[in-house]
């Protein structure tokens, strides 16, 4: 069954088609929400909200974008608003300069690198973090990111470049480790 037919059947109230749509997209939505939320319960809540809204609004889906893009747009909006509401985002946020200072001088063990990297990613501004996670972690293309976040492809590329630059600064003391 192609996407258009699936959507038509969901709109007609076909429960099996709803489940098929869910099965086709839930993995990527859950992965994305988990990566951005960093918390299983939040990721479940965001995934749930994404599909509830999607089923509610599918009647208004005009097919101008791919269904996956439309779903990911809902998911990223749910995640951003959700994280702001629960203030988890701010709690996780670690100032990049502070992150760089705390480990300066010590030899970087692999677990420490991962922890530092996670802190540095958490500390990125919303837009940079979103683009970095979607592109470098979840493998979205810049076109997909642009369509999902409603930004130009060039903006997505620029934000990724800036995100990487900030991470490079934050992880400067690991540079030698990575070269070897």
């Amino acid at each position: 069954m192609d996407e258009r037919e699936l959507i038509a059947r969901v709109r007609a109230g076909d429960g099996a088609a709803e489940r098929a749509l869910y099965d086709a997209h839930v993995d990527r939505v859950y992965r994305l929400t988990y990566r951005l939320a960093g918390d299983d319960e939040l990721a479940r809540e965001f995934t749930q909200d994404t599909f509830v809204r999607a089923f509610e609004r599918l009647g208004g889906f005009r097919g101008e974008a791919k269904l996956s893009t439309w779903l990911h747009a809902i998911a990223t909006s749910v995640v951003l608003n959700g994280l702001r509401k629960v203030k988890r985002f701010r709690q996780r946020e670690t100032d990049l300069d502070e992150a760089a200072t705390t480990s300066a001088g010590g030899r970087a063990a692999e677990p420490d690198l991962k922890r530092r990297l996670a802190q540095a990613i958490d500390g990125l501004p919303d837009g940079y973090r979103m683009v970095f996670v979607m592109h470098d972690v979840e493998g979205f293309t810049h076109d997909e990111i642009g369509a999902t976040l409603g930004i130009e492809t060039g903006t997505s590329k620029a934000q990724l470049s800036r995100a990487r630059a900030k991470l490079r600064d934050a992880l400067a003391d690991f540079a030698g480790e990575w070269v070897s």
């Binding site: 951005l36 479940r44 509830v52 990613i121 996670v133 470098d136 490079r168």
Partner: protein, 209 residues
């Protein structure tokens, strides 16, 4: 370290960033179903229509009753008159939609009755939705009109018969023929069309309504 090498190592290391576990598909699906049920958005399209009509009809009846009580008071004549007009319009719109829908169902049913296999489940579902509205209609000002009340009672009987057709597949031929004969003998479709003449919205209400 070159920029390319840094980016490559960064991507590798970032794979552990908030690494998600396996998707809890069934649990999530249950949560979504429960959330949708709480929000009341799981309504079959056919039922959606019935709920809408029933709501408008109930509103019309409620406003009608309220304005009838208000009409007895001399303190709010203007409001009562205005509300009565609103009530009449809401009632007429709902009733016209109900009659149109019922006519469409019965016309379709008669046409399908000639075919070897009647999609009974589909007709039964629509009939059940319309049956609830029929009962609301019988409780509305429409029931004061003897002609319309008689029609509504016949419609209630026919819709109840269709609603009880076996949902497992095509309807039993004898049941279908019996319903069809009832429609003919009581001239239900003819009376329905007389009560609800064809035409755009407001024109339809010029029959019995």
């Amino acid at each position: 370290m070159t920029e390319d090498r840094f980016e490559e190592r960064l991507r590798q290391a970032a794979q552990d960033y908030h690494r998600p576990p396996a998707t809890p598909r069934e649990e999530l699906w249950d949560r979504i179903a429960a959330a949708r049920q709480r929000r009341g958005i799981v309504i079959r399209p056919a039922l959606r229509w019935g709920v809408g009509i029933a709501a408008v009809l109930a509103l019309g009846i409620a406003i009608g009753r309220w304005s009838a009580r208000g009409g007895e008071s001399s303190t709010l004549p203007a409001v009562a008159a205005g509300t009565d007009q609103g009530s009449t319009l809401a009632y007429r719109v709902a009733a016209a939609q109900y009659l149109t829908r019922t006519e469409a169902l019965l016309t379709g049913f008669r046409a399908e009755a000639r075919s070897p296999s009647v999609p009974a489940a589909q007709f039964a579902t629509q009939a059940r939705d319309l049956l609830a509205t029929t009962r609301l209609m019988l409780d509305s000002p429409a029931a004061k009109d003897a002609r319309l009340k008689s029609l509504l009672e016949d419609l209630e009987l026919v819709l109840a018969q269709i609603a009880q057709l076996p949902s497992g597949g095509s309807g039993d031929r004898e049941d279908v023929q019996s319903i069809n004969q009832g429609l003919d003998q009581r001239s239900v479709l003819l009376r329905l069309r007389t009560a609800n003449p064809a035409g755009p919205g407001p024109v339809r209400t010029q029959g019995a309504l």
